[in-house]
Each structure stands twice: as C-alpha cells, then as structure tokens.
Amino acid sequence: MVKDIFKAENRVNGRLFRKLSLLPLMLMLLMTAVSCTERIDIKLDDSYTRLVVEGQLSTDTMAHAVVLTTTTSYYDPQAPPPVQGATVTLFDGKDTTYLTETRPGYYMTEPDFYGVPGKNYTLNIRLREPIGGHSDYSAQSFLHPVAPLDSIGMQFHGDWGSKGVWDVKCYVMEPPTVDYYRFLIYKNHELFTKIIRYWFVTDDKFFNGVYAKGATVSYFRQDNEHEILNAGDTITVEADNITKEYYNYVLEVQTEVQGTNPLFGGPPANVKGNISNGAIGFFSTFDLTRKSTITPSR
C-alpha cells in the first residue's frame, strides 16, 4: 500500500505544485489502515506488435542515441527484442546525419554531434522488415533554448519523516515564453533519476516570467536507503527545456507506469508519442543547463 501512496504522489505532481504531492499521501492515510495488496492471476490477451522508439538529441556534444525495440506480450519475462539493421537518419532542415548501429537496436551519432537551439529536427527510420504493417517511421521535434540556472541550493528538513529529507532547490530567471521543463538529478556525476517515474517535469504556470527563487526540484528521503546523502556528495541539477508534446508524453508515461486507483486519475489509456504510423515512443530534442553543489554537513 505504501507503494500506492507514492504512485498517487507522482501522479499529481506533474502539473501542480511539487508540494501537492503530499496531499494524496494524507488522503490515503485512512486507506493504509484498511487496505492490503496481493498478487492475482489475470489472463490477458495479446495485441499486435508495434515498433518502440526512444530517441534523444540535446545540445551536449556527444554520441546521441536512438534505440529501437518492439512491444511484447505483457507477461513476457525478457527484455524487449532489439530491431536491427534499420536505416536511421537525423535531418536538421539542411543536413542529413546517418546514425550507426553500435550494438543491436542502438543507433548512434558521431561523438562530436550536438543539437542547435532554434532548429527543427526530423528523425527518419526505415526498417528492414515491416513491423505493425509499416517500414517507414518519422518524427519531428523543435529544439527550444533554455534559460541558464543561476544556482542550486540544498535545505535539510530534520523534522520530515523519520530521518529527515534533503530538499534540492533551483534559482533561475524564468523567461516570459511558455516553457516546459524536465529536471534530472545527478549524484557524484552519475545520473540518479534513471527511471522515468522519478523524473520531474513541470510547466511554468506558476513561475512564468519571474525569478523562481528556490523552487524545489527534488527530494532525498534519508529514511530510504538508496537516497541517503553524505556531506561532500556532489549534487547536479540538469534542467532541460523540453517541448510541450514531450512534457505531456512524460506525464502520460508516468501515469501509466504507476498504475491506477479509483480516486485519482482517469481510466488507463495508451500514451501518444510523436512517432508516425502508430509506433510507441518519442523523439525529443532539448537545450540543457546544469548546476552543481556540494552536500553540506547538516
């Protein structure tokens, strides 16, 4: 049941204040007292196989990846099969870049490649054999510039939870344009928010055009073993200016990954990405800004 609380927590926080995430937690106090979970057997049918695309292009200079897999039946106990031998290209309105398959299903740019703010990128995929009735897939994404983070800060709340909570805040002059952000957290230069459900995405509804002074972008609960921070740990916040479509997509994926309950959220529904011909997944482009700080002693 505790897990359910965090599901509900994550469900709400997408578009509302980060703090609101604490609300369902309280609303469900009563239910924790009375509810239980158990595994059950449910027979499920299989639907047809679809192509799955995960592609990202940022303004970092590096080898950017487009990963191709397929859908499987729900209870399949294995990793999804990679889609090999496809022709994958990126087009920036002028030049076409060919991606190389470096391992099965992974298609990479050259390591000196980077995205340019203000350009509209097109991803084109041609499969060796059709999947879901199609061989050609494409997607487009605009690369929005990001306003640089001023700084980030950390605050310890000793009275939250049994062992306290680190609160990571950012300071930034938010531009007057309508923007959407994804925040990724690195601990000691390693990506900490690897799983999509831990990403924090937000619109700028409550900050638009003002100086956001100390908006919380992440928590580290010290009663959770893998979130423990020690003095001297480097914490890095990456802010990505993502497209509105990608923002909606991430929220929808988070919702579907986290399951449902009769109180919050609507009925389950398929997530719409930006790949053509009914493929699952997204090709996203974004400008990014990073700032680091050292965890102080409490």
């Binding site: 239980c36 409550f206 990954v257």
Partner: protein
C-alpha cells in the same frame, strides 16, 4: 424568437397560477377534507401517508409537509389513514361542508395508548402512479448493517435494484447505469453537491436528523429537474412537538447527539443534531510529535426550526453545515457543504397549497501547505447556488391533482485559485475565471384518475440555462486546441439553452392486487462534475454548460408489472427500462481537469444508452421483513473521439446484481439483520502488451473497458439489543453490533500491473482490497 420563448414560459406559468387561485371553490354537492397527518408520539408530520375513502376507492398521499386534501361528495364516508410502520386509523365522517381533519397515527411499536387498532396492509405500491420510486424510512435504514457501524442512507439506497455503488465502500452511486453526478441530491430542498465525507466512505447525512428518504430512479416529478438519472429527496425531522428529547450514540468512528423539542408547545419545534468523528482525538497520545499535530476528522451539524403560525401558514428554517479537515505538517485540506433553506407553506384554501422556498447551497474546498516558507501556498475552489422556488399543489377534485411552480437558481462557480501565502513566495497567483449562470424551470403536471382502474400522470417542465457575465469563454478548434477567448462584462447574458421536458406516467389496475405501470420522461442536465475516476475526490469541480458544452439530455422509458401476494403482505415487481442519453460527457485520454483554464477542451461529447430489468420482492411487515432483488442492466457509450469511436461499456456498467436485505425481530428487545450483495465487477481497461520506456514497463492497452474486475460480493450482519427497561432508569439504551464483510471476501478495489523492481521484465497483476472483516459496536441512548 428568444424573447417570444421566454414570454411563453411566463405566461404559461401565470396562467396556471391565476387559473387555480380563481377556481371555483366547490362544485355543488362536493366538499373538501384537508389537514395534516402526524406521528402521535412525536408530532412529526408524516410524508407519503395515505388517506383513502374506502367505498369510493379514492385516495391521496400526504405531501412532503404532511398535508393532504381530498374532495368528496357530501354524505357519510369512511376514511382510512395509513402509513408504513404505523397503526391504521379509520374515521367516519358525515360531510356537509369543507372540514379540516388532522390525524395523529400511532407508531406500531409504541406503548402509547391501549386503543386496539388493527394494523392493515395496503396496496399503495400497486395503485400509485409511481415507478422506480422507493421510499425508505429511517427506522429501516437504522437496522441495516453498516460499515464501521455508521448508519448511512446512501449505503442503504445502494441496496436497491438499479442502484450501484461507484466503488468499494463509496457513497457515490450510479442509478441505472448513469454517472454519479446525474443524481440530484436534495436536503430539505437544498442541493447537496458533494454528499461524501472521508474520501467517500461516509455520507453527509446524519441519520438521527432525518425523517424520510425517497429515491426516484426514473420517473422524476416535474417539479424537479437538472439531473438525468435520479432524484434523492432527503427530508429532515421537524423536531418533537410534544416533549424535549435527546438521542445520541457512541460508535466506532463517531459520536452523535440530537436534541429536539417544542419551543412553544404544538407550535414551534426545533431539532439540532451533531456528529463528529474522533479518531484524531487520540492522536495527542501518540509518541511521535508530528503525528500528535495531525488532524483528520469530519463533523456534521443539522439545525431545523419549524413554526406553525396558524392553520394556513407554516414556516421552516433548515440548515446544514459539514466539513472534513485533514492536516499534517506538510499539508492541510478542508472541504464541505453548507446549505440553508427557508420555506413557507401557505394554504390559499383547503384545495390550494403553496410552498415558497429560498435556498442557499455551497460546496467548497481548500488545500495548501501551512509551512510558511517560500513553498507555502493555498488553493481553493467553491461553488454556490442561490435559489428561489414556488411550488403549488391544487387539489382540483377527486380525479385531478395539479402541481405547478417556478424555480430559478443563480449558480456561481469559482473553479480554482492557487497562490503562494508567504511574502517570500516563489509562486505567482493562478486564478481560473469565475463563471455565473441562471437556471430557470417552470412546470405543470396533473395526476388524473380516469375511471376506477386508470390513473395518468402527465406534465411538462420548461427549462432554460443562461450563461451570465462576467466571464471568460474560450473557443476551441476541431482538435480541441484553444483558439481564442472572449471576455464578457458583468450581467452580460451571453448564451441561453432552453428545452422542454415532458413527463408521462400511467398505472392501470388489473385487480386489487396487481397493476401495470409505465413511464416516459425527458430530462436535461446543465451542470456536470469533472470527475474522471470511478470514485472521485472532493477536488472534482462542477462546471456549467457553455456554448462549448451542450446540456446532457436523457429519454427514459419504463414499464412494470406490480403484484401483491398473500393479502398485500408481499410486494413483487418487475420493471424494465430503456434510457437514451445525448451529449453525454466523457474525458479524453489523460485529461487534466484541475486548475486548467482549457478544461472544456478535455471534454468529449457523445451518446449513451442503457437498459435493464429489475425484479424485487419486498415484505415490509411481520417478524421477518426485508427485500430480495435482482437486476440485469447494461450501459454503453459511443463517443467519436474515445476508443476510436467504438462502443464501450460505461464506467458503472455492472450487468448482474443481487441484493438481499433481511431483518428479523427476535423479540421486543432483539433485532437481527443481514445483507448480502453481489455485483458483476466494474469494466476496466487492461494491458494487452508492453513496451520498455525510460527503464520502466509501459503497458499497451486493450480497447476501453474491454475487461472486467472480479465479481463483488459481501455479507454483512448486525444485531441490535435494547437494554431492559428498568423503572429507575430515565434513559433507553441500545447496543448495535455489526460485522462488515463477514466471510472476509477480498473484493478488488483496484487491479494494477506491476514489475519487479529488481528485474523489471518480470511483470504481474496485483489487486488492492480495502475492507476485510470489520466488526463494530455502537451504543445508542435516548431520554
């Protein structure tokens, strides 16, 4: 054209009004008997009591104010006054002029008076032109086993055929496949917009303060409208007119206290009733300091004052205030209803009854973080109704009873404002524009007896809904993206919907014990609830029809066969219905309904239909009483933009359901009761494939609602034991012991598909269930 229509509306109403005022007071040789029917012990007026002339077989039921009027030829008559749970009284009368007869009926179990009065069984259910209408008396409800011992009228009506709970333990209910926002719930005429406490596990209705509960599943009287599926008419007690009385109870989750009595004997009475949950009162004893500061409770306060000014005038003031409060160190939240109604009954003559009501109703919520730092914020929303209504009943003659009236409601919607509360706040204010609307209705209906066997009830309700400035109206393109907005000034009536709502019903008596009934009604609904989950939360907001959102409309047909057996001691009925809904509202996939100024763009409009058959056997009297019902029903939706335009089961489509409610009087002190419910599982959408996205498992889903949850069933037991009367004891005590879910069925509240955090490719289904076997004990006291 517009002006013409409004003119027509009002002239229709004025015609009806003046027509009956000036009507000839008496046809020659006929006179009118009128009055009120009361409870002899408490002086409470009885709603729906029958007054029946035995030789002419002509009768009438008391209205919600206990009033009746019967027009009869001069001469001698035998009148029979009867009401369920009361001893029937016969009265001989020689009618030579108009008379007033107030009758006090003795409760069946009362020890008052030694007069031997035979309790008679009646065939009211067979002869009344009412279908899909069920009245529950508060006493019956009191003995039904309840979750945690909290007696709840909404949980009781969920045991009726055609009524389903929206989710386990929830007070939300669906009538004949409709949505929970299609039920009009009124408490002493005031609309209750959110009838739930504590995430829906309890309703706002404190049984101790109530007198009568009637549910109309289809044949909604022409006097009421604005909802498609049902009317739940809840009436509060007037208060004991004879003596001061206190009743109370200490239960597992709450305590109650009701005080009632005369202020001026046989003229002014009051009742005040309070209830509060107290789990949080134990929190100060908690070890953890943070837990000690938490709050989690709700309360209800009902107040009513009734004044009989004279034979022709009575006034009533009723108020309700209830609120839920949650608070911990991070967040606080409050929500609740406030209603008030002031009513005046006036008798123009023994044949013309008027009730004037002025009503206020409000639902609001607030939530925020009380931390006081830069992250602190407050978010609030509310809606208010201001309402005036006039309802006339004209007892024209023994064959015709005319009802007509007018109602206007001013709706105010404040869908949401959020802002930082500290001066160092990082948040700018975000406010959704307020919306205003006027809703009008006028109606005229007649209940007409034709010969000995046929009674018709027909009527027309004309309604209009006007959007009024100031307001902001957003326009959307065909893909539901906002294009632009129009801002309207104050009192700018910028859009009007109007429509006719015909109602028709008949009953044809086959013989004294059986009848055939039928009904058709057209209903229109101008406000709806933005609720996308099955159970909903208090944060769900109501929104009005606008130029973007046409009112929802429903046509319902039903036909039934009613038959009483064993000299009216057993009532049986079969009803079939078909309901067609137009402009039904559903929401796009992944809709965002809160704090979204483009919320209207998240709506999708289509059509729906439902049909079913309801069987019921009911026995109201005797040591063993209760009912057994079975219902087969289906409910479907078709929306162009949902589920690829293919038909899908509506969210509350439960094909099969069975309810068993039995009550057994062991002796004068002990009563045992049991309920068993069975219902097909709710339709759900399950995965039929998966993709790996962002190092997580993303389900690929079936068609909407293509699967079904496991069937739901549950047995509850309860026993109530009255303490022995001892001469030295001034009070009467009663123990109620109940067991919820007696055979511990693990009914699924939700089913989720999860993956093993250590190996994400291992996936499985997990069900969450809420209530295992739950015993509860309550002690009730009255003196």
């Amino acid at each position: 054209m517009k002006r013409y229509h409004i003119l027509l509306l009002y002239s229709f109403w004025i015609f009806a009004f003046t027509g009956s005022i000036s009507a000839n007071p008496g046809e020659t040789g006929r006179f009118t008997i009128s009055g009120h029917v009361k409870d002899a012990a408490t002086g409470e007026v009885l709603i729906g009591a029958t007054v029946f002339e035995t030789s002419l077989k002509s009768g009438v039921a008391t209205n919600p104010y206990g009033f009746y009027s019967l027009n009869l030829p001069s001469g001698s008559h035998t009148l029979r006054f009867s009401f369920l749970g009361y001893k029937t009284q016969n009265k001989e009368i020689d009618l030579t002029n108009d008379v007033t007869i107030d009758i006090a009926l003795l409760p069946e179990n009362s020890e008052l008076g030694e007069v031997e009065i035979r309790s008679e069984r009646t065939n009211d259910n067979v002869i009344k032109p009412e279908m899909g209408t069920i009245r529950l008396d508060v006493n019956t409800i009191k003995h039904i086993p309840a979750l945690l011992g909290e007696v709840d009228i909404i949980k009781a009506i969920q045991l009726l055929p055609g009524v389903q709970s929206t989710s386990e333990g929830s007070t939300g209910f669906s009538v004949r496949g409709g949505n929970s926002d299609q039920n009009l719930i009124i408490l002493d005429e005031a609309t209750v917009y959110n009838a739930s406490h504590l995430m829906g596990f309890f309703s706002v209705f404190n049984n101790d303060a109530l007198k009568d509960v009637t549910l109309y599943k289809g044949d909604i009287p022409a006097a009421y409208g604005g909802r498609l599926s049902s009317l739940l008419d809840v009436r509060m007690k007037d208060g004991n007119a004879k003596k001061f009385k206190a009743t109370g109870g200490v239960g597992t989750v709450s305590s109650r206290l009701t005080l009632e009595g005369p202020i001026i004997k046989d003229r002014t009475t009051f009742v005040v009733s309070g209830r509060r949950t107290y789990a949080d009162l134990f929190l100060p004893f908690a070890k953890d300091k943070q837990v000690r500061d938490n709050k989690l409770f709700f309360y209800d306060l009902n107040l009513k004052v009734t004044d009989i000014i004279n034979e022709k005038n009575r006034i009533y003031f009723s108020g309700y205030l209830g609120r839920d409060i949650f608070k911990n160190q991070f967040a606080e939240m409050g929500f609740g209803n406030t209603t008030g109604s002031f009513r005046w009954n006036h008798l123009f003559s023994s044949k013309l009854f008027l009730n004037v009501s002025a009503i206020y109703s409000k639902f609001d919520y607030n939530l925020g973080s009380p931390t006081g730092d830069a992250n602190a914020f407050n978010w609030f929303s509310n809606m208010r109704d201001h309402n005036i209504r006039l309802d006339f009943t004209y007892y024209m003659n023994s064959n015709n009873t005319l009802k007509y009236g007018w109602i206007t409601t001013f709706h105010e919607f404040e869908p949401g404002t959020a802002r930082g509360t500290s001066s160092a706040s990082i948040f700018t204010e975000f406010k959704l524009p307020a919306e205003y609307a006027l809703e009008h209705g006028i109606y005229l209906s007649n209940e007409q007896k034709i010969g000995a066997n046929l009674t018709l009830k027909y009527g027309l309700r004309i309604t209009a809904f006007q959007n009024v400035g100031s307001g902001t109206y957003y326009r959307f393109d065909s893909l539901f993206n906002p294009i632009d907005s129009v801002v309207y000034g104050k009192l700018d009536f910028f859009h009007t919907y109007k429509g006719l709502e015909p109602r028709f019903a008949f009953v044809y008596l086959l013989d004294e014990y059986s009848s055939i009934k039928g009904h058709y009604s057209h209903t229109r609904q101008y406000v709806a609830l933005a609720q996308n989950s099955t159970a909903g939360t208090p944060l769900d907001i109501w929104f009005p029809s606008t130029p973007n959102i046409a009112p929802q409309v429903a046509d319902q047909f039903s036909l039934g066969y009613f038959r009483n057996l064993l000299d009216n001691s057993i009532e049986t009925s079969v009803e079939v219905y078909y309901k067609k809904v137009g402009n039904v509202i559903d929401f796009r996939d992944h809709a965002q309904l809160l704090l979204n100024q483009y919320m209207e763009g998240e709506l999708r409009i289509g059509k729906g239909y439902s049909y079913g058959v309801e069987l019921m056997i009911r026995k109201d009297k005797g040591k063993l009483n209760g009912w057994v019902s079975y219902c087969y029903s289906r409910s479907w939706r078709i929306l162009k933009d949902i589920n690829d335009g293919n038909r899908y089961p509506a969210p509350y489509d439960k094909p099969n359901s069975v309810n068993v409610v039995l009550n057994y009087t062991v002796n004068k002190r002990i009563e045992a009761s049991t309920t068993w419910v069975y219902a097909s599982g709710l339709p759900v959408t399950f995965p039929t494939g998966r993709a790996v996205i962002g190092n997580a498992i993303l389900p690929i889903y079936s068609d909407r609602n293509a699967y079904r949850m496991p069937a739901y069933h549950r047995l509850d037991l309860a026993v109530s034991i009255k303490e022995k009367d001892k001469h030295w004891k001034k009070w009467k005590g009663e123990w109620n012991i109940s067991i919820y879910n007696a055979y511990n069925r693990k009914n699924a509240w939700t089913i989720n598909f999860e993956y093993d955090p250590k190996d994400i490719y291992t996936t499985y289904a997990v069900k969450t269930y809420l209530f295992s076997i739950i015993p509860a004990i309550t002690y009730n006291i009255s003196f």
